[in-house]
Amino acid sequence: MVRFIGSRLLRTVITIFAVLTFAFILARLTGDPVRLMLPDQATDDQVQAMRHTLGLDRPIVVQYLLFLADAARGDLGDSIRQGQSAFGLVLERLPNTLELAVTSFVLGFVIAVALTIIAETTGNRRLRSAMLWLATIRQAIPPYLFGILLVLVFSVSLGLLPAIGRTSYASFVLPVATMATFEIALYLRLLMSSFDESRSLDYVRTARAKGASRARIVVRHMLPNALLPVITIAGINLGVLMGGTVVLEMVFNWPGLGRLIVQGVTDRDYPIVQAGVVLIALLFVVVNLVVDLLYAVLDPRVRLS
């Protein structure tokens, strides 16, 4: 177990180093922020002075080494536009993104499990295939489009819910609905195919032969096994969700991490982009580490190998 955790931690460190390097290169590939910051009349001397204070006049290798040295000390630099700690600014927005991602994830997961149990226990084939069709259709619509459709119906036409911002609990409804329906579709399809695989397995036949009720077989015997592969996907997906809310945050003007990063890209605010990418990568890595460990706890075969 110690070796298992140790190797996962080492992998985490390497991943973060790679992400830092990637974030650095990506952010510097295009554009110089200085001209965007200064008024049109600014003289060349003013431009040079600004480049110097930002350290942009140094060789790229020196910039990279300084960046790594600072990052190792937990300092990802100050935002070029706002002059405050980039990591601080990014952290300030994190809760707003987490609340969308986690709420959508939990709602999606729970509803998908509930729907699967209903479909399996009733054994209604039509209900089952209707659910699968709806799930496929929902997965086929991109979140951006689905979000705008919801806004057009519920905000613009019906005037029931706010179209943008994060001003009240009502503001959560549309973005969460956009994301959660996608999550429901994802897990519903995964769980159902998982169930398909286990239906003819020995332990299910044994349980049936024993005379266990259908509901009991589904909930107590089949569900735990069906959930195992889903956990891995869920771990990866929770990380994807963190990045995936970027689109939602643009559509619903949600003051989250994703919109901050997009703005950072537009403004050539390297430190914000770097800090944002590193934070999302960290979360992704941590969630996956937790999932790996959880898996080891739940499935003895992983522990042994």
Partner: protein
């Protein structure tokens, strides 16, 4: 197995509850706009297209930020809804014959929102702070100033490095700081919750979301029309249009694509005003073929400006005749926009000996309305007269850097919108020898220095008009369309747009 499943579901449920509790703890901003009738309306919500980096006027000069400053601070002079200069903190101003010494007389009844009076010292402090700090963006507006001094409590004298005729317009961009408060708090703290002497005060800045203002009841001039103003940051154009229709926002800048939706909406209407922005085609006049004035003329003649304005821009622009818009000082109404003339364009192309080699058309992929479609239209118009064009869309910051460094391969599309609504800045930048453009014309250079030193407005306007006529004759640029600022506005809202794109509520 079964207990594990139960534990797992329990864990998910607990995480979920925790998330909901966490979000429950968070406080909400702005509180949403009220949908009360206009007479009882106390709160109005407007969309800004970007978020300020700081509310310290010394360090941010982007348009959305200037928009906040125009509501919260006073400037020496202001620009009215027709584009004319009006008194601000200064009640009157004079200059010497050489246009290098400018004297501004301040009003005595202006107060910062902490009740301290606005004095000449505050004005001098503001300018000097920005001029002394090489990191100050605002300092970029002050390159013409040599020094300034307060001769008494209400008089400020500026000494300029050279004659600068539009100086009374240039000062509209500089918001006056309260010296005592700024020094006591420091730039960082001041930038989060600034204190000004304008018609509104900053109540709260919720990062990533909005800035909330409240009316300054003691304002010396036209008081705020609404008790509360919420300026919400909404960068996405479609989102802005949707939120005007849903009533979440009362005033939002629109793009051509959203105009027809808003005009057929029950909740909102379209309000527009002529803008200071002109979209033009530029030439690298040193590149092969484009160094020939007749070839450039052919490019200009090939383009149908009316069709672009009416169809592509949904009527939100009109054909442009010169590099400055009609609201800008120096505009000459007698110059006509170039009409499309395919036959003449073809003749000029043939006469130039053009061999069919491909000419690059560069453009920024964002920040201009319908820019991708506009670039494609220009490409098609030019191909109709036999000019082969390759499109080169560049990411905005890269494009902007190329523009400053004059590094375009051939043709380019861009726009100029001088915030001070004066012709000098765009013409200096685009036309002066050694400027960022590709033009080197001694006649224009002479007119530019004349114009800056001309104290008589009519004579100065004539100099500028002469420049515009040379530009048209030699086709140094092909001005395409003059833009409007088009807004979606809640029906019945009492609000007037401004030609410099500022959203003001007093």
């Amino acid at each position: 197995m079964a207990p594990i499943a139960r534990r797992l579901l329990a864990a998910v449920a607990i995480t979920g509850t925790a998330a909901l509790v966490l979000s429950g703890c968070a406080d909400f901003s702005s509180g949403g706009s009220s949908t009360s009738t206009d007479s009882a309306r106390t709160t109005v919500t407007a969309a800004l297209v970007g978020e300020p980096s700081t509310l310290d006027p010394v360090f941010d000069t982007n348009l959305p930020t200037l928009n906040v400053f125009q509501n919260v601070f006073d400037q020496l002079t202001t620009i009215d809804a027709d584009g004319a200069v009006q008194p601000g903190l200064a009640t009157k101003w004079t200059h010497d014959e050489a246009l290098t010494t400018w004297t501004f007389t301040l009003r005595s009844d202006a107060k910062f929102s902490d009740d301290s009076p606005v004095t000449a010292d505050d004005v001098v402090y503001t300018y000097e702070t920005a001029m002394k700090n090489p990191e100050s963006n605002l300092g970029g507006y002050m390159t013409a100033i040599k020094s300034l001094e307060a001769t008494d409590d209400t008089t400020v004298v500026f000494h300029l490095k050279a004659a600068y005729a539009p100086f009374d317009r240039q000062v509209t961009l500089v918001s006056i700081l309260p010296k005592a408060i700024y020094e006591a708090e420091g730039a960082k703290a001041f930038g989060q919750k600034p204190v000004g002497s304008g018609p509104y005060e900053v109540v709260k800045w919720t990062h990533g979301d909005s800035i909330t203002l409240k009316r300054n009841p003691d304002y010396w001039g036209d008081k705020g029309k609404y008790e509360n103003v919420v300026l919400q940051f909404v960068p996405d154009e479609t989102t802005r249009a949707n939120s005007v229709q849903s009533g979440d926002i009362d005033v939002a800048l629109l793009g051509p694509a959203s105009v027809s939706t808003i005009s057929s909406s029950d909740a909102a209407e379209v309000v527009d005003t002529k803008s200071n922005r002109v979209i033009y085609t530029g030439f690298n006049a040193k590149a092969e073929w484009l160094d020939d004035p007749d070839f450039r003329k052919a490019v200009s003649l090939a383009i149908d400006r009316k069709a672009i304005s009416e169809n592509l821009m949904s009527g939100t622009t009109e054909p442009a005749s010169q590099l400055i818009a009609s609201v800008t000082q120096g505009y000459d109404a007698s110059i006509e926009p170039t009409e499309q003339d395919v036959t003449e364009a073809k003749r000029l192309v043939a006469a130039s000996g053009y061999d069919g080699s491909t000419i690059t058309l560069s453009y920024p992929t964002t920040t201009l309305p319908q820019i991708q479609q506009l670039a494609q239209s220009v490409q098609q118009y030019l191909e109709k007269v036999g000019i082969a064009v390759k499109l080169d869309g560049q990411e905005f910051s890269a494009f902007s850097a190329n523009w400053f460094a004059a590094k375009f391969a051939g043709l380019y599309l861009y726009a100029f919108a001088p915030s001070a609504l004066d012709a000098d800045l765009p013409l200096e930048m685009l036309l002066k020898t050694g400027g960022q453009g590709y033009v080197s014309d001694p006649q224009i250079d002479a007119l530019l220095s004349d114009e800056l030193a001309e104290s008589d407005e009519t004579a100065r306007d004539k100099d500028i008009a002469d420049i515009s006529k040379i530009v048209a004759a030699k086709t140094y640029y092909a001005p395409l369309v003059a833009d409007t600022y088009t807004y979606g506005v809640t029906k019945g809202l009492d609000w007037t747009p401004r030609p410099n794109g500022m959203i003001l509520f007093n």
